[in-house]
Symmetry: C2
């Protein structure tokens, strides 16, 4: 199985291309501006793109899912809660997506947004968890828009992610500090928003981050509600 981590410098977004031994593939969180890069790589690796999968409705970049679906005829997949009617397929908690030797367990992890999911590839050792903006390396996604909810985020991370096997590798949806991956154990022990913090302390911290809105928010969310395509 192949996992490629691709970085969008403008939004510090990680996109992931996962290829099976039989050359079928899944892309997670593609960025519209980089679709040409993905198409070239998919072609060079001789892959067939089956699914374009979103961890949530993004506010900081425009999704490439609709464009990839138009060009490669893949399915675009979003969470049940997203309300993105144009998607090809909807997923829910504890569902499995399976392509060849790629087995993905779908975990509903609301908190950053109400439509946030994590994807656990449990068919490789030690397992790879694609966490979107739910859990970042030594950080978390914010909870101050798009139905964000720090109480739900705390529960998603502590009750769903941190109960998984310690050695599972974490592949986040963003990184702003030069990191590329982590593990469940590392984040349990060293994530400053979570380790040793009570739920109340986490909620207080998240409610007082006082962050500016993402620059692209007003453009990105409406477009992403249409699979990243102009209406």
């Amino acid at each position: 199985m192949l996992i490629r981590q691709l970085f969008d410098k403008n939004s510090c977004t990680f996109t992931y291309l996962i290829g099976s031994k039989d050359k079928n593939s899944i892309i997670i969180d593609p960025v519209l501006n980089n679709v040409d890069v993905y198409l070239t790589l998919i072609n060079q690796l001789n892959l067939n793109l089956v699914y374009s999968l979103e961890t949530h409705t993004h506010a900081d970049h425009i999704s490439g899912s609709g464009e990839l679906r138009n060009i490669l005829n893949c399915d675009s997949i979003v969470g049940n809660e997203s309300g993105i009617e144009c998607a090809s397929k909807f997923i829910e908690d504890n569902e499995y997506l399976t392509i060849d030797d790629i087995n993905i367990r779908v975990l509903y992890t609301p908190g950053h947004t109400n439509d946030s999911y994590c994807f656990l590839v449990d068919s490789i050792k030690p397992g790879a968890l694609f966490t979107g903006d739910t859990l970042l390396i030594r950080g978390t996604g914010r909870t101050d828009f798009q139905s964000g909810d720090p109480s739900k985020l705390y529960d998603s991370i502590t009750n769903k992610i941190f109960t998984l096997y310690d050695d599972i590798e974490i592949y986040p949806g963003h990184d702003y500090n030069g990191f590329s991956k982590s593990t469940i154990k590392e984040e349990k022990n060293h994530n400053p928003r979570l380790n040793l913090k009570s739920k109340k302390e986490f909620i207080d911290l998240m409610n007082n981050l006082d962050l500016p809105d993402p620059e692209m928010m007003d453009i990105a969310i409406p477009l992403n509600e249409n699979c990243g395509l102009e209406k």
Copy 2:
């Protein structure tokens, strides 16, 4: 074995931290500005840093090797050809560096500079090749300063790197396009500077790139000749 890829946004440099099962570790191409990040990560992962290894004398960032050696008492290691007298240890072609289950074959690959080396970790499957600026993803290092030589670079890549096992993963010293890793096979087939090109065509291409000097060159090279430390 643990491999962590760390990205320096200012110079688009990749630094690598490789940890053994017995918690000893090697860092490749550390960047001075990020030493605090490395120290924190090394501490959090409960690692002992044994070697700080340079793929070559860098012109685009200041090395963190001297600083890491001062703080953690590791050995700083450079190629025989570098002339970096302050280094703790010098390496040459086909030497092995071994720590616990990490076995590194040292490959002398001149061309980008006359002191350029690649490091092949051959104790994991399918093997990991740390290529510095010799071979980048769909590109190569430049050859227009620091005793750069496109003829030598062509020979290093085609006769040394491309004769290795196809599935070996390539971890480059830089990436400017959002890629994180590649394989020998991919670069053989899809590197536009090399695939289908004769040695003469490659040399002509490299001699006509007409690139500006790296911004930090006049500061970085003299400092790196002193292990990244002020004299």
